[in-house]
Amino acid sequence: MSLRIVVCVKYVPDAAGDRHFADDLTVDREDADGLLSELDEYAVEQALQIADEADDAEITVLTVGPEDAKDALRKALSMGADKAVHVEDDDLHGTDALGTSLVLAKAIEKTGYDLVVCGMASTDGTMGVLPAMLAERLGVPQVTLLSEVSVEDGTVKGRRDGDAATERLEASLPAVVSVTDQSGEARYPSFKGIMAAKKKPVESLDLSDLDLDADEVGLGGAWSAVDAVTERPARTQGTIVKDEGEGGKQLAAYLAEQKFI
């Protein structure tokens, strides 16, 4: 039987550009250049490698987001995913992590899955909590923050390099995994891949397709609220000296003056 892999991806404002908040204190997604979150490219890559090792596998890439989020799906399809699901609904604006995990879990169940693959975090919200929330909502094992992952005979195995220890983890499928940026460089889409992606199916779903009500999601349904946003004052440049043989000593004098020595 075919191994059904669902990769959850996010369309985010480019971290290298200027990122702003909109008037309602949500992330401004209109005036920013968006792209597939870099950390999700690692998830797509590992899904492709797992699919290559399996006898038969199908990769669905899934996102929740506005119209432009299709760009993130196209990128994943051009890397080699087979099909895409786009959950898009005006009522989703302002949905927080708990709400997003609810929507994703419903969409994953509707799509059908043996393995869900996520990145370690998004590059905009950077919470890193969605994979754990998905596992909780789906009632399946979580095998997360992996720098190495493989699937054999219905078991997913991985290496987690934690703060205090390196652990080897394993669980039976179905399961949710997340992979870090240490899991292996993501491939670039080939020209052939980019052309093929244009013909791959992208299914659109709205809240009613997922049996969800508008008040369960969106800014109004969010479990948390941002009350204030302030731009951090730019750091002002202090003293710059050119090393002319005494640079280390000058720096030491500064550190002593600041009471660090």
């Binding site: 479990w223 090393d243 030491a252």
Partner: protein, 320 residues
């Protein structure tokens, strides 16, 4: 007075510093009740009591070490049910954030991660967060259920405050999903004898300019002269010069020490995201145009192979 549940990070009974910071912040909201799990849980009580924990709930079972994350969520939920706290606070480690996430789903509560400050507010605790690579500061609160909040290391100065710290064994029954993910093996990270990167008062980091794994001994030498932790930029880690566990930046650790010294680091957004809330920033770089110099309180334009050894010697001499 309302109670605040604090999840304890400890190693065989030795409480890690971020937990003491949590207790300090928790006292602004209510009376801290601590939850310590696993081997050595009861041994945490003395330290936790000295820092304001009125009660210390403890549980130990093989499941905590043998299975991934979920047994600890079951225990935290049992503590939550027993205490009915005003808020639940956890450290912002990879594992504790996952525990927090699952608890929030289970109890239908909002979640705030990576707070850098916490204060009492009319509508519940108000968390300060630093977002978009620290370009913005936000104030947030949980609007549904009991706030579940994870707090970054170095977010508060630890203050002692004596309380009873009474040990109370907690009864935990594990659910069906607790044994879903097996921990097949665990290799503790070798101790370097240096401070923990995220907790250190001083961090010395090396980047592309260090130009080789063997040259990191220069960075380590400077770090040791100052009693500092060692960090590395993504470029240095990707090149295989230093372990990923020491990476400072968006996909590594985010640090906020009193002093950050960047050597041979250009200061790409990836890196700045992890260090620009440091109190004092110092950089050494050959390229006077390197963006890191925009952030510094003091910068030396020069070759780190000249400047770093001279600085290390001078620090040693001044410290006598």
């Amino acid at each position: 007075m309302a109670e605040v549940l604090v999840y304890v990070d400890h190693v065989d009974g030795a409480v890690r510093k971020p937990t003491l910071e949590l207790l300090t912040l928790a006292r602004r909201i209510g009376e801290p009740v601590a939850l310590a799990l696993g081997s050595g849980a009861e041994a945490t009580a003395a330290t936790l009591g000295e820092h304001g924990a009125v009660r210390v709930l403890t549980a130990d079972a093989p499941e905590f070490a043998d299975y991934h994350v979920v047994p600890k969520v079951d225990a935290l939920q049992a503590a939550y049910d027993s205490v009915s706290p005003a808020a639940v606070l956890l450290p912002s480690s990879g594992e504790a954030k996952e525990i927090a996430a699952r608890l929030a789903v289970r109890i239908g509560s909002g979640l705030i991660t990576d707070a850098v400050d916490l204060e009492a507010g009319d509508g519940g605790p108000v968390a300060t967060q630093s977002v978009f690579a620290a370009a913005y500061t936000t104030k947030s609160r949980v609007s549904k259920g009991t706030p579940v909040i994870t707090v970054k290391p170095n977010s508060a100065a630890v203050e002692a405050s004596a309380a009873a710290g009474t040990v109370e064994p907690l009864t935990v029954s594990f659910g069906d999903t607790a044994t879903g993910t097996k921990v097949v093996s665990r290799e503790p990270r070798e101790s370097t004898g240096r401070p923990e990167l995220t907790e250190a008062a001083i961090v010395v980091s090396g980047g592309r300019g260090v130009n080789g794994a063997e040259n990191f001994s220069l960075i380590e030498g400077l770090a040791d002269s100052l009693g500092a932790a060692v960090g590395a930029s993504r470029a240095a880690v990707d090149a295989g010069w230093y372990p990923h566990s020491n990476q400072v930046g968006q996909t590594g650790k985010s640090v906020s020490p009193q002093l950050y010294i960047a050597s041979g680091i250009s200061g790409a957004i990836q890196h700045r995201a992890g260090m620009q809330t440091s109190k004092t920033i110092v950089a050494i770089n050959k390229d006077s145009e390197a963006p890191i110099f925009d952030l510094v309180d003091y910068g030396v334009v020069g070759d780190l192979f000249d400047v770093v050894p001279q600085l290390t010697e001078e620090v040693k001499a001044r410290k006598g």
